[in-house]
C-alpha cells in the first residue's frame, strides 16, 4: 500500500489539490483513501467521497512522537483491513513533520499483511501568498519544504511571474534536491503529472533512513 503525503501550510490549496488528485487516481483505476490530519474538521466534502467511492478518515491530537504516531498507524491499518486502498493520500497539518508521518505509517505494518511504500512527499507552496508566508510562518514552511521530495508551486494561474520566481528561489534555497513542479489544483493544472509521479515513484522509508543515520553516527561512515 502506498502512502502519498500532500503537505503544505494552511491556505496552500491542499484540500482542492488532493481532491483533484484523488479523482484522477480513481479514474485511473486506483482504490483511494484519504486521511486528513487537522484539528476539528474534515475538509473533504462527504458527497464527493461517496461519488468517487473513496474512504476518508481523520487523525488528530497529541504530539507525533508519542501520541499521534500510534493513532495514525492504527488508522492506516484499519483502512487497509476494511477498505484495501492501494494508495492512501495523507493531508497532514501544516505543523506536522513529514518524516514523523512516514514513521507512523510504517508502524501500521504490525497490524496488517502488507508493506508500506511511500510516494514522493509533495509539499505545496502557495505562490500567491509567498511573501506573507516568508514573513509569518517562514520556519514551518521551510520545515515542510526541507522534507519534500517534490515542491509543487501552487496557484500559478493567479500569481505573477515575480511571485512564482520567488517561490522557486525560496524553495531551492532550502531544498536544492527537491524536484519543482508548477500548477494549480483549482484548474487541475499539473495535477495529472503529480498523480503520475505518485503512481510511479517512491520515497525512502523512515526505518531505512533511521538505521542508516544511526550507523553513520555510531561508525562514522554510513551504511
Amino acid at each position: 500500500m502506498k502512502i502519498a503525503q500532500v503537505a503544505g501550510f494552511l491556505g496552500s490549496g491542499k484540500t482542492t489539490f488532493l481532491i483533484e488528485l484523488a479523482k484522477i487516481l480513481v479514474d485511473r483505476g486506483h482504490r483511494i483513501a484519504i486521511i486528513v490530519n487537522d484539528v476539528g474538521e474534515i475538509n473533504v466534502d462527504a458527497k464527493f467521497i461517496e461519488m468517487y467511492g473513496l474512504k476518508a478518515k481523520e487523525i488528530s491530537g497529541g504530539c507525533i512522537c508519542c501520541q499521534v504516531a500510534g493513532n495514525f498507524a492504527n488508522t492506516i491499518a484499519i483502512l487497509y483491513n476494511t477498505f484495501k486502498p492501494d494508495i492512501v493520500i495523507v493531508e497532514p497539518s501544516g505543523v506536522a513533520i513529514p518524516w514523523g508521518l512516514k514513521r507512523a505509517a510504517e508502524y501500521s505494518e504490525e497490524e496488517m499483511d502488507d508493506v508500506i511504500v511511500h510516494a514522493p512527499v509533495i509539499t505545496l507552496v502557495d505562490s500567491l501568498r509567498i511573501e506573507e508566508l516568508m514573513q509569518s510562518v517562514r520556519r514551518l514552511v521551510e520545515t515542510q519544504i526541507r522534507e519534500a521530495d517534490v515542491v509543487f508551486i501552487n496557484k500559478v494561474d493567479s500569481a505573477t511571474k515575480e511571485k512564482i520566481d520567488l517561490s522557486v528561489q525560496f524553495s531551492k534555497a532550502i531544498n536544492p534536491n527537491a524536484e519543482i513542479m508548477f500548477g494549480s489544483g483549482r484548474n487541475n493544472q499539473g495535477v495529472k503529472e503529480a498523480a503520475t509521479l505518485i503512481e510511479t515513484r517512491t520515497s525512502p522509508r523512515y526505518d531505512e533512513s533511521y538505521e542508516k543515520e544511526m550507523l553513520k553516527r555510531d561508525y562514522g561512515g554510513g551504511a
Binding site: F9, L10, G11, D38, V39, G40, S60, G61, G62, C63, C65, C66, Q67, A69, G70, N71, S93, G94, V95, I97, W99, R103, Y107, E110, E132, Q135, S136, V137, R138, R139, L140, T143, Y206, S209, Y210, E213, M214, R217
Partner: protein
C-alpha cells in the same frame, strides 16, 4: 537489586552534580501507569477525569517501575477543554480537541477563564496533592502544566495561531494574556498541592516553528513564561521544563529560564537535532539536569532486547559525555516524551529500561 541510594537521595545528588550510585532514570510513564492498578483494565478516560484514579495510577506506577521521579503529565487537551473546546474522549485513546473554542480571530478576545478547580484542571490540582503527599518520602514529585502558547494552540489550531501571530497579533497576545492569568492561578493551586517541582510544557520553542524573536514575543523568558517561571519558585517549587521538539531553543529554555530539570527528545533524522552528548558537551547540563532521550515509540514497538541495547548505548554516551565535561551526574536517562499511554505499550519495556540503568548507569570517570 539493592541500591546504595534512595530515589530522593539520588535525584538530589544529581541536581547538585554530586556523585551517585547510578544515573537517575525516568521513563515519562504517566497515563500508562493506570495499567499497573489492580487488574490493569482502567480506561484512560477514567484515569484522566478522576483525581483519585489519576493519583493512584502515578503512585502505583512509581512503585511498579521503581521510578526515581514522578511527574503528573496528563494529555494536552486539559486546558483547552476547560476553556470550552470540545474534547473527544475515547475510552483508551489519548483525548484530543475535535472542536476548538477559537474558530476565528474575533474569538481570541472572547476567551473566559474558568474556575481552576472545575474540569480536568481541578482533577490535576486535586490529584497532584494526593500523589505528592503519598510519594513525598519516596521520590521527587512534579506537577505538570501546559504553557500558555500550547494551551492556545490546543484551543484554536496551531496553524491558525501561527498565521494569526502575524495577521492578528494583538488578538493573539490578548488570548495569551488570558491563559497566562489562568496559569498563574494554576501555579498557585499547584503550590498548595505541594509537589517538589512544577514542570511546564513549552513545546513550541522549536526552531522548526519559531525563531528566537517570535518565541520571545509569544512565550519567552521576558514575556508570559518568565513571570510564570518566577511564580513557580515563589510558590516553593523547583522549575522544570518539558519540550519534545525536534530543534528546541536550548539557550532560552535552559540558559535563560534556568530550570532545575529539562526533558527533551532526540530526532536523528533532523539535521541539528541535539543528541545527549551534544547537549552535555555544549554545557547545557552544567547547571540543569537534562533528561532524555529514548524514542517513546520504542516502548510500544521494540523488543526488550532492543530496549536494553538502546538504554545501554544511551548510558554509555551520557557517561562518556559527562566525564568529558567534568560532570558527575547531571543527566537523567529518560524517554524523550511521554511513554505512549496506549494499551499496546509494553510495560516490560519500561521495566527493562529502568533495570538497564540500574545495571549500567554507574558513572566512573
Amino acid at each position: 537489586m539493592t541500591e546504595k541510594m534512595t530515589h530522593i537521595e539520588r535525584v538530589l545528588a544529581s541536581l547538585g552534580d554530586q556523585p551517585v550510585d547510578r544515573l537517575t532514570v525516568y521513563p515519562i510513564a504517566c497515563g500508562v501507569s493506570r495499567r499497573t492498578i489492580g487488574d490493569g483494565t482502567m480506561l484512560y478516560k477514567d484515569w484522566c477525569s478522576d483525581p483519585k484514579n489519576y493519583a493512584q495510577g502515578l503512585i502505583s506506577g512509581q512503585k511498579y517501575f521503581d521510578l526515581d521521579l514522578t511527574v503528573g503529565l496528563m494529555d494536552l487537551s486539559v486546558i483547552a477543554g476547560d476553556f470550552g473546546s470540545h474534547v473527544r474522549m475515547d475510552e483508551q485513546n489519548t483525548p484530543f480537541v475535535d472542536d476548538p473554542v477559537i474558530k476565528g480571530p474575533e474569538d481570541y478576545e472572547k476567551l473566559q477563564a474558568p474556575d481552576i478547580n472545575k474540569g480536568r484542571s481541578g482533577v490535576i490540582l486535586e490529584g497532584t496533592k494526593i500523589f505528592a503527599d503519598a510519594l513525598k518520602n519516596e521520590t521527587i514529585t512534579s506537577g505538570f502544566l501546559e504553557g500558555p502558547l500550547l494551551a492556545l494552540t490546543q484551543s484554536a489550531s496551531a496553524e491558525k495561531v501561527f498565521m494569526d501571530m502575524y495577521n492578528n497579533r494583538s488578538a493573539v497576545h490578548k488570548a495569551l494574556g488570558t491563559f497566562t492569568e489562568y496559569l498563574r492561578d494554576m501555579v498557585k493551586g499547584m503550590g498548595q498541592s505541594k509537589p517538589a517541582a512544577c514542570m511546564w510544557d513549552y513545546l513550541w520553542a522549536s526552531y522548526s516553528c519559531l525563531g528566537d524573536n517570535e518565541y520571545d514575543e509569544f512565550e519567552g523568558q521576558y514575556k508570559y513564561a518568565g513571570g510564570l517561571n518566577e511564580l513557580v519558585g515563589k510558590e516553593g517549587m523547583a522549575l522544570a521544563i518539558h519540550n519534545c521538539a525536534d530543534l528546541p531553543h536550548l539557550d532560552t529554555q535552559i540558559k535563560a529560564m534556568k530550570p532545575a530539570a529539562y526533558t527533551m527528545a532526540y530526532y536523528p533524522l533532523i539535521p541539528g537535532s541535539p543528541s545527549a552528548s551534544e547537549v552535555i558537551g555544549k554545557g547545557y547540563a552544567d547547571n540543569c539536569v537534562v533528561c532524555g532521550n529514548i524514542d517513546p515509540q520504542g516502548y510500544v514497538r521494540w523488543s526488550q532486547e532492543k530496549m536494553q541495547k538502546t538504554t545501554m548505548n544511551l548510558c554509555q554516551e551520557v557517561k562518556t559525555a559527562l566525564c568529558a565535561r567534568g560532570l558527575k551526574s547531571k543527566y537523567c536517562i529518560a524517554s524523550g516524551c511521554e511513554v505512549p499511554p496506549s494499551v499496546t505499550t509494553r510495560l516490560e519495556n519500561i521495566k527493562t529500561m529502568v533495570d538497564t540503568v540500574k545495571q549500567y548507569g554507574q558513572v566512573t570517570c
